[in-house]
Symmetry: C2
Subunit: 587 residues, 2 copies
Amino acid sequence: MLRTHTCGELRPEHIGQTVTLCGWVQLTRDKGGILWIDLRDRYGLTQLALEEGVESDEVRAVARELGREFVISVTGKVAERYSKNLHIPTGEIEIRVEQLEVLNPAKLPPFLIQDDTDGGDDLRMKYRYLDLRRNPVRRNLELRHRVAQATRRFLDGQDFIEVETPVLIKSTPEGARDFVVPSRMNPGEFYALPQSPQTFKQLLMVAGFDRYFQIVKCFRDEDLRADRQPEFTQIDCEMAFVEQEDILNVFEGLIRYLFKEVKQMELTEVPRMTYAEAMRRFGNDKPDVRFGMELTDLTATAQGQGFPVFDSAELVLGINAHNCAPYTRKQIDELTEWVKRPQIGATGLVYARVEADGTVKSSVDKFYSQEELQKWREALLGNPGDLLLLLAGPATRTRKAASELRLEMGRRLGLRDPNTFAPLWVVDFPLLEFLEEEGRYFAMHHPFTSPKPEDLALLDNPATIGQARANAYDLVINGVEIGGGSIRIHDRTVQARMFELLGFSPEEAQAQFGFLLDAFEYGAPPHGGLAFGFDRLCSLFGGSDSIRDFIAFPKNNSGRDVMIDSPSPIADAQLKELSIATAVVGR
Amino acid sequence: MLRTHTCGELRPEHIGQTVTLCGWVQLTRDKGGILWIDLRDRYGLTQLALEEGVESDEVRAVARELGREFVISVTGKVAERYSKNLHIPTGEIEIRVEQLEVLNPAKLPPFLIQDDTDGGDDLRMKYRYLDLRRNPVRRNLELRHRVAQATRRFLDGQDFIEVETPVLIKSTPEGARDFVVPSRMNPGEFYALPQSPQTFKQLLMVAGFDRYFQIVKCFRDEDLRADRQPEFTQIDCEMAFVEQEDILNVFEGLIRYLFKEVKQMELTEVPRMTYAEAMRRFGNDKPDVRFGMELTDLTATAQGQGFPVFDSAELVLGINAHNCAPYTRKQIDELTEWVKRPQIGATGLVYARVEADGTVKSSVDKFYSQEELQKWREALLGNPGDLLLLLAGPATRTRKAASELRLEMGRRLGLRDPNTFAPLWVVDFPLLEFLEEEGRYFAMHHPFTSPKPEDLALLDNPATIGQARANAYDLVINGVEIGGGSIRIHDRTVQARMFELLGFSPEEAQAQFGFLLDAFEYGAPPHGGLAFGFDRLCSLFGGSDSIRDFIAFPKNNSGRDVMIDSPSPIADAQLKELSIATAVVGR
């Protein structure tokens, strides 16, 4: 080794020892008579000292020329510091430098290698290898490592086998867009990169593997947003001979283990809530249950008093913003503009203050008597000082807007503490959803999800198809969907019926998923599973909204890696070998 | 859970308990009065019993109709067996079946689900999910899981961080052929799948990650052989502030740990051998050192006696096949044909028997006196009963043929026991090799490998370039290259010189590897690493020559997954979105 110790391990008990450290120059402070250098590596910072008349002039001359981020090796004795820094673990000692070697000089980095850097996003992505030197970024990836190791340890302990499924698979039309890979050996044919190992893990259940998991890269060629990447990582799991409740229990165990190992937190039991209840109480299938402020249906209460906006609405919803009665007119106007933004979609906001004496004063007093307003107050459990906020309009849109308003008010009121974690299983999702623009049903989870046995009959009547529920579930933490899964179909007939409902002809179903339908005829066990979004799980543990902060080399919103400058054109000879040609419009 | 126990866990202490098991029908034996069923799951086999007059007639009727591989659930009492089978852990008990439910029937499988199956390779690959039900195949993947978990445990304990590097990267011309992925969002541009995370792990060292590893899929679009797959898995590692010896020690530690954890074997120290010595003694840079039979240079000894084949040869090599003097003429003829096969490449074989009285009798007695033949015997340490085998011709080809002959004789003599493990570090590989057909030097390891500092001057003289050695090393076990790596270049100037030697113009080097060259200017630490072939490592532990046996869903020699029928054509709409067209010659 080029060093005897790391920059994070020397303590007072090492005083007097001669040590060799290697690392990067974080900072040089030249006070004339004495020169201090902060030497940094992954493990910490250690102070180096070179004093006039004590350390050699030649070594001090070399040290004077060091720039930020130079890579050096130093040898010297560990000494007690005159002025200790008890904020860092090595703050009681320093190294009196006897030898100093520059292992590699460095140009001045384009941004500061510090916790709070002056580098913008683009610059930090272009020089990601420098960005990764910063403590917060490195700590994110260390956390990711710990979460991965702990996940494997837990699942291995529960008899799960990690099996690597193939990356070069087959393109399927259902679901998101595939990335494809031209095959040189099979001209005109393509592999696809997996959107998930779904069919393979089901085949592993047919193969009797009983309990499978994998921490695995998946790929979706979708237009990107801040929390989406073209390649992302899943904790992918499947179990045989289980029912939904078994899966929830096993993976509740995993989540509790991870909280304990990674966050040193004991989670209480994870509550379950049906999709229908979540939509009713929170207007959202991934409710943030760190706080209340639930949606209250005021349609019946508020209609029939001559207020046209409410009378013509399909749904009137209210929330109670506790202690917000003092909101100024300006604040309320700003909130009204906020709910009218296209991404929220409300047409307006009605408010009502509960005064100190219990009377209610609303923005629509000319339509509502105090008696009527007191009914609102009762329904919303309003106390003096509360602000009641009402939205109205078409049901789906109003529910969504009310849910967003609730989250926004929760944020403004400080009810969404990132250090509080409120996990929740949402269960009993609808099996299918009808997409108007496509004119057909789509699987809400995926085409392999089992209907609830008691709802099977609903599928036989076109009028009730949409009401059928699935044995499908999501794990939601703090309003973020961390994972989801389902009990799968293991019967060829039911699976074929499902493909039919999704608009596949029998021939199409056979061409795309014949291997799975065939497999179901050779003894498929009842099975189910789920997948966690690993990037999101890590960002949740790290207290961040952005999965990019937890990916070593992420891509930008155009799917580009700006550091390596990819994607990029390839040579004509490569295209020819692959039997493809580029056909770029306008070239 | 649909079961209370697995099929592998019931023992005499469970007798009297009512249990529920699920699994596959392995075998039904109907003796009229009593019917036995072997029920199988991943964990084992349990015998079910249904006796006339004891178990119910209805249940017995259902049981009679069961076919092989039906998936069933049974409930009953654990009972002591009349006739115990002590070969299996559950062999002392059976289940007296009270309830039996068919969870899924099964068509008759196309081959027997048994350790020795009647299914050919193609059939087993098409129905891989049935092949995976067989114990030997499942055990291979269980072993793979254990090796992966143990690897992570060891490296995590040594402060290595597992970092996921991207799968969608940039195509580079050096090395093997890339798989590429057209970018929809960047028309006319392509990602490439990584042949290894080489540049990313070096950037992680520049980023100060200090110790990195990853068990990671890699991709090479090469023509396939039995031990090659288009996608394969590496244990990929890198360390900073180390020298070659440190890396050898750390990963020798890993290998010893794996042998202990997975094979319950204590490895002795792993010896080191230079490339030059390996080539001289074994004719091979990955020698199987489980046995001796080393190559002996007989050029000087055997020339000058008028035998034109030897006199005109660049190299004459001999090996001593102990106790093979009794080989018949027919056996020797067969061996001669064997060495003349194109893949071995010798033009003939000279042999000499050491007789009981110590005299030597050769196939070329008319050119060699007994005195001369005794010189051969001395050089080859021949004892009575030994058979001396000599090959001659151009040096490289003769060395290769002699190496193959040595391995073949080792195999025939039973010297290559798969349960004996002889690991070896081969070090000091040449830096470059000259490929006549390309008319230029290529990196023997890869372009990022550091020359030995003492050999740097050799690179300045065209006559000595080929003699420069690299800080590169391979781990070889039983003649198989399990892993390899090198100390990397961390200096921009040396890296630029290396690209120049490999025929890159400065512009080409910048276009392809500019990000790495740039990174080297911002404080790159000395670093090095290695990668193990994970599939091969698992097949070695499993005592198999074929990596395919240790991959859940392998591809065939045409790169096809015959189970899912991939690769396959994709829709025109997909091609259009990706701005590519297929250009298949002859269509």
